[in-house]
Amino acid sequence: MSDSVKSSLRLCQLCNAEKPVLKRPKTGQRLCKSCFYYVFETEIHNTITDAKLFYPGERVAIGASGGKDSTVLAYVLKTLNERYNYGVEFVLLSIDEGIHGYRDDSLETVKRNKLQYDMDLEIVSYGDLYGWTMDQIVAQIGMKNNCTYCGVFRRQALDRGSVKLGISHVVTGHNADDMAETVLMNLLRGDTARLDRCTEIVTDSTDSPVKRSKPLKYTYEKEIVLYAHYKKLDYFTTECTYSPEAFRGTARALIKNLEAVRPSSIIDVIRSGESFVLKRKLQDEIKKAAAATAVATPATAPSDSKVINSKTTVPMTSTTTNTYTNTSTTVEPTSTTNPASATTSTTITTMPKSAPPTSTHHNIDSKGAPLPFTTTTKMRGRCERCGYLSNNKLCKACVLLEGLNAGRAKLDIAGSQDVSKGSALLSKQLETLSF
């Protein structure tokens, strides 16, 4: 190796000026601090703008656990919000599961984050909401299935916390490793229902008034660790004391090995996951397309066609060119019958036009706030006991609570009159909900 090559190897492989301080896990490149920060943040920004995740004026809750993922998420979102003028108001939303020694300390971290990042903080506790802490639940049911309880309760707690804050969008710290793991898990466990949707950045649930999204879906866990380390972010390191099931561990180990032999494996798995289309869904798609061409109705055209005509530049979208032209090319200029988009082109912040099209499934009123548990989602029913969205008489949380309250030691929802799904399926569906 010549001397000139040797000396160039000592410099950052992107800027060729600074001394590299780390080997980038995603690519193996040796980078200086500022280049690493830049690519790390820019990739998240690209993910956000590409998915049109936020709209100016939106209030968004960050599901904050005090762990590295959600801490980095909060820090980066604050940074990008200021750098690119997203115009979004971020709020920290924390769940207190009542796990002594784990959650006590992590909540302290979140409370410090509130001050560090100058964001509001809302804490919803299992104890207040359900009358049971996770410690009490585990004391009653043992270590088995406790992730099922935690999953059901957390999901509803997040929804309730959001509704309380008047927020209809929660971002969570799911990272690329989590996504890749989920793709493989769905294949390995035959979870067809989720196979083609698990990589979507926005999770649109029929039984939740709140939209969930994952801005870190392409961000490597190792890079989150490095970023938090070099930025000296204040986060809590201990894992949940109630660990998940063994089989997921095998998938995690496989991904670790794949990443070791080919660093891009994690995004390669996600790329594969994004390409999965179920035959069944494709048939529906083809049928729908055929029906749509048969009856060409202008009223069904997307209402954001006007945005490109607007002279107002939304700061957040100005960095990505042609964000809207894809959808607008198929739209007739005269087709807009939506009153919101018929208004003048200056009122750009009144409607969530820059929000992803899926957000129309949610009951967002003109201020972007959800109406508490009154909904236009497919889920029409309400839980008789607590009012939460549910197709059954009792929602899942109330079913679990009934069992707990009756002092039953076993999770026996399969036999319950209200829940048609088996407990295995239920736990399967709930497993990925944690943040």
């Binding site: 800027c15 830049y38 990739e43 993910t47 466990r189 392409y218 032999v261 996951g273």
Partner: protein, 405 residues
């Protein structure tokens, strides 16, 4: 393999004779086990019955033979099927079987003599129309073979590979090397199928191997082709996996009870002991070996789940996506692959915003549009860390080289 060594032998569940092995928790005697496995193969190949229609052409079927257990087991089963057809239909057969081995001894050694083994197989299976071998090197020697691969590999480097061995060496790491080897093997098999007018290719893959393929294609960013490769219903020639319901362990049992061990040859290019040096295929293989014990249903779950995926061509057609053919593997090449990658793997320093980013896109797009995501990844991996696409010469470079001013 659960072969009995003690005398406390459970009777075969099907005929009450003493059993020799247990498969799917059922004790089998040799005869019933062979029948059980062959039934699965025959069911898959029931289209290849003896055809009495006057003037009907007997189809030529190609069986790629690696001398691994699965392809040998399939050869044995199809030969048995032909023997049976011939004896019950007055010498008629439902298909002409051509077995072809790709001789890779120019790349890596084998733990046995390839030509001798071929001889022995010809003697053992006279029902086979041909049992031949073709050299891996033919891929580059034959002018009719697609030379794009060499062109593209050469364009990523300063030297051009002169032969297959050099080509593989240029890919540096084990995963891209094995990927390229697999692509080359497929291209050779396709060519042999054309040369022999075969309308069907039957692969020996067991269910376990298919599950491994699903996961390893997913891991390599080739998930969009799972349905095309594994469950293709209308490819030309037709692709069949007759052992797709036979477990890897059952193939091993079959080889043993049929005394076919002597024909099994393996490559001397062994799996490295350290995980970090193994290929993705090897890692995935190991994963299934370890997970199958604790979770025996995983293999069939993966295959059944993957079978629900739609073929890529149907997806692209329905979504009106223009997709070209990958210059390396021949699979679908999405036009957005490199753009997607660059958005989530930013490759320029803070100062070089905006313009430069767009320029990079323009320059690299030319080549990358011709490659699928999986092949882009293959080359990216083999070039140590940097994605260094051959770029078209800039105006300045052209002027510097050609202008005489």
């Amino acid at each position: 393999m659960t072969t009995h060594t003690t005398d406390s032998v459970a009777p075969c569940k099907r005929c009450q004779e003493p059993s020799v092995l247990i498969s799917r928790s059922e004790p089998f005697c040799k005869k019933c086990f062979v029948k059980f496995v062959q039934y699965k193969q025959k069911k898959r190949m029931e289209d290849y019955k003896v055809n009495y229609t006057p003037g009907a052409k007997v189809p030529d079927v190609l069986l790629p033979l690696s001398f691994g257990r699965s392809s040998l087991a399939l050869l044995d089963m199809v030969a048995d099927m032909l023997r049976f057809q011939s004896s019950t239909h007055g010498g008629r057969q439902g298909l002409h079987l051509h077995a072809v081995h790709i001789d890779e001894t120019g790349i890596h050694g084998m733990d046995g003599d390839v030509q001798e083994t071929l001889q022995n197989l010809r003697a053992k299976y006279p029902e086979c129309s041909t049992i031949t071998s073709v050299k891996l090197e033919s891929f580059l020697e034959d002018p009719s073979v697609n030379r794009e691969v060499v062109k593209i590999v050469a364009s990523t480097s300063t030297v051009s590979p002169n032969n297959t061995k050099e080509l593989l060496a240029m890919l540096v790491k084990r995963t891209p090397q094995q990927d390229m080897l697999n692509i080359i093997r497929l291209k050779i098999i396709e060519k042999v199928a054309r040369d022999l007018n075969c309308t069907t290719i039957i692969w020996g893959h067991s269910m376990t191997r298919l599950a491994e393929l699903v996961i390893s294609l997913t891991a390599k960013g080739r998930g969009n082709t799972i349905s095309d490769i594994l469950f293709s219903e209308q490819s030309e020639p037709r692709i069949l996996y007759p052992l797709n319901e036979v477990l890897g362990s059952e193939v091993a049992d079959y080889i043993q009870v049929q005394s076919l061990d002597q024909f099994v040859l393996s490559s001397l290019s062994r799996r490295p002991a350290t995980t970090k040096l193994q290929s993705i295929d090897e890692l995935v293989n190991q994963y299934f070996v370890s997970v199958e014990q604790g979770f025996p249903s995983v293999v069939s779950t993966v295959v059944k789940t993957a079978a629900k995926l739609a073929p890529s061509s149907a997806v692209y057609e329905s979504r009106q996506l223009e997709v070209s053919t990958c210059k390396i593997c021949g699979g679908p090449a999405m036009p957005d692959s490199l753009e997607w990658l660059e958005k989530i793997t930013v490759n320029f320093p803070p100062s070089a915003d905006g313009l430069q980013e767009n320029q990079d896109h323009q320059e690299s797009k030319d080549t990358s549009n011709e490659l699928c995501y999986g092949c882009i990844t293959l080359f990216k991996d083999s070039m140590v860390s940097e994605l260094n696409w051959p770029k078209r010469s800039t105006k300045e470079e052209v002027l510097a080289e050609y202008s005489l001013e």
